[in-house]
């Protein structure tokens, strides 16, 4: 029974900056219905939202797959963007490759990946320059 999960799949659209966050919003709604502790809901929502924004800024969108298990949430964010050349550097707070026009909107402060790391229990990045990036995240539920 504990292997049973609720699987949700989203296409993260890059067309509209304002619509970024719709996948995290949908997941948040589902977690609330399950009565998940609000602190855990917040962690999942923030990690996903940052991931969605990253896909919109850097990769013209991608896909998000969320699996809700009894005791954890697995999130897989995959894109076919430019990839991350130096993952360690990208994980540094304040490091950003976002273009100026994005920064003017208040994004691209170099906090996305660190925030995702901070709000998850496990995070793994697989990236190939020119091919794309896949980020696996796990949030344990209390």
């Amino acid at each position: 029974m504990s292997d049973e999960c609720i699987r949700l799949e989203f296409k993260v659209d890059s067309e509209n900056f304002a619509s970024a966050g719709s996948a995290s919003e949908a997941v948040k709604t589902q977690l609330k219905l399950l009565g998940i502790n609000s602190h855990d809901v917040r962690r999942v929502a923030i990690a996903m939202y940052e991931g969605e924004i990253n896909m919109v800024i850097h990769a013209k969108g991608g896909t998000a797959v969320v699996e809700i298990y009894q005791n954890r949430v697995d999130i897989t964010l995959a894109d076919r963007g430019p990839g991350i050349a130096d993952i360690d550097l990208a994980m540094k707070e304040g490091y950003s490759t976002a273009p100026d026009n994005i920064r003017e909107l208040g994004f691209g402060a170099g906090m996305g990946l660190p925030n995702m790391k901070k709000n998850t229990d496990e995070m793994r990045i697989v990236s190939n320059p020119g091919v794309g990036t896949t980020i696996y995240m796990k949030v344990n539920l209390t």
């Binding site: 029974m1 504990s2 049973e4 999960c5 609720i6 966050g21 995290s24 919003e25 948040k28 589902q30 609330k32 219905l33 399950l34 009565g35 998940i36 609000s38 602190h39 809901v41 917040r42 929502a45 923030i46 939202y49 809700i68 009894q70």
Partner: protein, 421 residues
């Protein structure tokens, strides 16, 4: 929730069973069953949106009738600043206050005085670093308090833990009445005059306090009709008003936030806007802000459904009254009260009304079933089934025994219904 909150009711004879109120309800608390709008009270935040929306006046707010004051030896009215915005050509608040004394009250205590004290207490709260988490969310609008406790559990830590202006006014009014009359506190009746059903609900169910601080909650519209008969008879009213611009401003969206003075604050009004900002705070998107004022009604308290005047006209009228008033006439030192006097007596409690099941595995099973039902529906959010959205209908099928065949898709073959007939 403390008890069943039936502060909005239905006049079934007037209800046509249309879907207007159901579609406007911000918490999806209404269903149309058997041709009548039914409220799921555990989800109702008493905001009054359905009352505002209903063209047939079938939705009613619950409040106390004026006769309730007769049960007390000494009667004190707590008029809110929104009341002053209801009258034409009013240039002096004292006419309204004298009017209240003419219609049966022995004394008045303006809630704007409580507001000025709470503005100061909030500034102290921020300066003392008492906030659990920023931005601090104001808790004066009870519909918003209930909304957060129902749907935004994570934001409980952001909520201001001070009393509301009405609470403070009620406490001080009763103390003053005891001192003035020598009567026992229970012989004194303290009555708020409300612009909305939410305030009736919060005061009667003692939000943030151990027991109700008022003995009754009257409505602005009823008091208004009594006042307009008396006010023209008043000549040279006494100087009864003891509140300034800060207190008066609380009637209108932005007034509460303005009372925070030097700190970074802003105000949001109208439920749709409020829900959007709550989502943003939840997602950690609101930075560099100390305080946010939230109002369920567009325009603030002047927009409440128990008022008479158009909210924007009322706002303009209050603007006129503010013109010659000083910034503030009340301060905490003058009351001789400690800072604790202005603090909540008990914590808010979140509501689990939306939780599918206490057992997580069972909740997951239900969520899957809901998803399964949803996929079979018309996805028109038409409301024909009696639920406000296809998502809500899916929940009704799984949780409330509704038949999936109530969906329009199963009734109209041209929508490609799954049923062969």
């Amino acid at each position: 929730m403390p008890f069943e909150k039936r502060f909005v009711t239905l006049d079934a004879d007037k209800c046509k069973g249309c879907i207007t109120c159901m579609k406007r309800c911000p918490t999806e608390a209404i269903r149309v069953r058997g041709g009548k709008a039914k409220i799921l009270y555990e989800r109702c935040i008493a905001c009054g949106e359905c009352i505002r929306a209903c063209s047939y006046h079938a939705k009613k707010a619950v409040y106390d009738k004026m006769e309730i004051i007769d049960g007390y030896k000494y009667k004190v009215a707590l008029p809110p600043p929104a009341l002053y915005g209801q009258f034409n050509n009013l240039n002096d608040i004292n006419y309204v206050l004298e009017g209240l004394l003419s219609i049966g009250f022995d004394d008045i205590y303006e809630t704007s005085r409580g507001a000025e004290l709470i503005s100061e207490a909030t500034r102290n709260f921020i300066a003392d670093g008492k906030a659990n988490r920023k931005p601090i969310i104001g808790t004066t609008c009870p519909a918003i308090v209930d909304l957060i406790l129902l749907k935004f559990h994570d934001l409980k830590d952001n909520m201001l833990t001070l009393l509301t202006p009405v609470d403070v006014a009620a406490k001080l009014a009763r103390e003053k009445a005891v001192a003035d009359t020598g009567l026992r506190p229970e012989e004194i009746g303290v009555f708020f005059i409300s612009s909305c059903p939410a305030k009736v609900y919060s005061l009667k169910s003692a939000f943030g306090v151990k027991a109700p601080l008022v003995d009754g909650v009257l409505s602005v519209n009823e008091i208004y009709f009594k006042l307009i008969n008396e006010m023209p008879k008043i000549q040279n009213p006494r100087e009864l008003s003891k509140a300034g611009v800060t207190g008066l401003s609380w009637a209108v969206s932005g007034g509460e936030a303005a009372g925070i003075f030097g700190n970074v604050s802003f105000a949001v009004d109208g439920l749709e806007n409020v829900i959007n900002i709550l989502k943003d705070i939840e997602d950690d998107k609101v930075h560099h802000t100390d305080y946010i004022e939230l109002n369920a009604c567009s325009g603030g308290c002047v927009g409440g459904v128990l008022n008479i005047e158009n909210p924007y006209i009322a706002k303009a009228k209050i603007g006129v009254l503010k013109k010659y008033a000083p910034v503030s006439k009340n301060n905490i030192e003058q009351t001789g009260k400690s800072r604790e006097f202005f603090c909540q007596e008990k914590d808010f409690e979140v509501s689990q009304a939306f939780k599918l099941d206490d057992d997580r595995v069972k909740a997951m099973t239900k969520l899957k079933q809901i998803g399964g039902i949803y996929r079979q529906l018309a996805h028109l959010d038409c409301g024909i089934c009696g639920a406000p959205s296809c998502k809500a209908f899916s929940e009704d099928v799984v949780l409330r025994g509704q038949s999936i065949e109530a969906c329009v898709k199963f009734r109209l073959p041209e929508l490609g219904g799954g049923k062969e007939r």
